[in-house]
């Protein structure tokens, strides 16, 4: 199946840093997959995500969307951000508006939709995420689980084909995390690809179709869970921690 997004030999060094955050990272993401990205802190997971969405531009290497190289012009970036949505680790960094409805509708309005269309998209996304009853609530009055759902809805309202979730489920209780992973499962059944960066190896092993292992700014493995956990750094970890 043709990949939606291809990252080829990406190199990136943050200003003032000696070692590169990405050091030749390559990855292909096909439609309808549940992908878990695992790796130590500082292995380059978040930097990789920021490249997928066009927030960061690689020093070297290419990002391809539907087989075409992303050019980072205004129109190309708009298209990339419509197709590739990113949910950040802390929902408080993402929810800027005082009202949930306004926050969710922000992305669709930026895509040039009319107020009524953006409002409809916001309601649909809120229903998908199970927060339709919270649309009129102020964002600061939500619980952490509700904030995470609102942040996901804000991205889903833009109807991306690829959803990147940067450790957003890490601070949630197991019940909310289970519900959100189930939601991601439904999204993949609808043809979207969901990529979750996680430190939870159980999630990687049991939920994902594909486990991407990152180390030192490189993708060192992209395998189905049973194969990924049977080799390399994950095998030792699995043996020691018995998950």
């Amino acid at each position: 199946m043709r990949p939606i997004l291809e990252l080829e030999e990406l190199y990136y060094r943050y200003p003032g840093q000696e070692s590169p955050a990405l050091d030749g990272a390559s990855l292909q993401l096909a439609p309808g997959l549940k992908v878990a990205v695992v790796g130590r802190n500082g292995s380059g997971k978040s930097t990789l995500f920021l490249h997928c969405n066009g927030i960061l531009r690689p020093d070297a290497g290419t990002v391809k969307l539907d087989g075409r190289i992303v050019t980072y012009g205004r129109a190309a970036l708009c298209e990339l951000r419509r197709r590739v949505g990113i949910v950040f680790q802390n929902p408080d960094d993402q929810l800027f508006s005082a009202s949930v409805a306004q926050d969710i509708a922000f992305g669709p309005l930026n895509l040039g939709m009319s107020d009524s269309e953006a409002g409809r998209k916001a309601r649909e996304a809120a229903e998908t995420c199970g927060i339709a009853d919270l649309l009129e609530r102020p964002t600061h009055a939500l619980s952490m689980g509700q904030k995470t759902r609102a942040a996901i809805a804000g991205v889903l309202a833009m109807e991306p084909t690829l959803l990147l979730v940067d450790e957003a489920t890490g601070s949630l209780d197991p019940w909310v995390r289970r519900d959100i992973l189930a939601l991601f499962g439904r999204l993949t059944k609808a043809g979207k690809t969901v990529v979750v960066a996680t430190h939870d190896m159980n999630t990687a092993r049991r939920w994902a179709d594909l486990v991407v292992v990152m180390d030192g700014g490189r993708v060192i493995a992209a395998e189905p869970p049973e194969r990924a956990f049977a080799q390399g750094i994950l095998r030792d970890l699995a043996n020691q921690m018995e998950f």
Binding site: L50, N53, I55, C78, R81, R82, G85, I86, F88, N90, D92, D93, Q94, L95, F96, S97, A98, S99, A101, Q102, A105, F106, G107, L109, N110, L111, D115, A118, G119, A122, R137, P138, T139, H140, A141, G154, V155, M158
Partner: protein, 256 residues
């Protein structure tokens, strides 16, 4: 502040057009200033209190407590206006006392002007309390946007309002962490901890701002915060009540 915010979201006038509520509050404020009689100010307080409790369903003690806190500061200011300090013995005064070479006194005119000032200010404060307790800031920023206030100003208000709560959470979290490790045991340690807390909050706000910028960019932000316009209902009864308020305040000005 959190209490005001909470009630502004859960009152019976929440869904009423903020233009109506702001109009009523500004009208009351203007009448208090223009009519300039203590009776007008006091009547405005009663009107606003009644509207907040009866129409908006807010608890009466809440409105009273807020007014009491604000009234305390008004009282201090009014006291300063009423009190005259001079080095010559006042001729016509209600009360006077010598303190060393100085004379402290209250004259009839100064007391009357301080009472007029305090009641006028109290009426204005009650009007703004009514608006603050019945209208969330989202509605006010929406109203400002409709009034063609420059978008930069409205966007700043939106973001500052959001940041107030996230920084408040950070403040509580950091302060608890400091208290757990005896950060506030003693004056010197307490001031040092408070200074660290302030510095950390500044840095936290800066980093949050940067992260929020990234998050906004990822959703197609292009220099303007485009927000969904909110929908409200009109309240004809509030218009009639506003007319009644105007009539009674004008009547109070004529009769008293």
């Amino acid at each position: 502040m959190q209490i005001i915010d909470r009630y502004s979201y859960c009152n019976r006038l929440r869904t009423v057009d903020p233009a109506q509520k702001a109009g009523l509050a500004i009208l009351t404020l203007a009448l208090c200033l223009v009519l300039d009689r203590p009776a007008v100010g006091l009547l405005a307080v009663l009107w606003m209190w009644a509207l907040a409790c009866w129409r908006a369903g807010l608890p009466a003690p809440l409105f009273g407590r807020l007014l009491l806190a604000e009234g305390f500061f008004l009282l201090l200011a009014a006291f300063g206006v009423a009190l005259t300090i001079g080095n010559v013995a006042p001729v016509a005064s209600l009360w006077r006392a010598a303190v060393g070479p100085w004379w402290l006194s209250f004259s009839r005119a100064s007391v009357e002007s301080s009472v007029a000032l305090a009641t006028r200010a109290l009426g204005c404060t009650a009007a703004l309390n009514f608006l603050a307790l019945t209208t969330p800031l989202t509605d006010l920023t929406d109203l400002l946007r409709r009034m063609r206030v420059p978008s930069l100003l409205v966007e700043l208000m939106t973001l500052i309002y959001r940041f107030v709560f996230t920084l408040l959470e950070s403040l509580i979290r950091i302060r608890s962490a400091q208290e757990c490790r005896l950060g506030y045991s003693g004056f010197r340690r307490g001031t040092a901890s408070a200074a660290i807390l302030a510095g950390h909050l500044f840095w936290d706000a800066y980093l949050r701002g940067k992260r929020m910028q990234v998050a906004l960019d990822s959703r197609g932000y292009s220099g303007e915060l485009r927000l969904l316009p909110l929908t409200y209902r009109g309240d004809s009864e509030l218009i009639w009540l506003g007319a009644g308020l105007c009539a009674t305040l004008l009547l109070a000005r004529v009769l008293v």
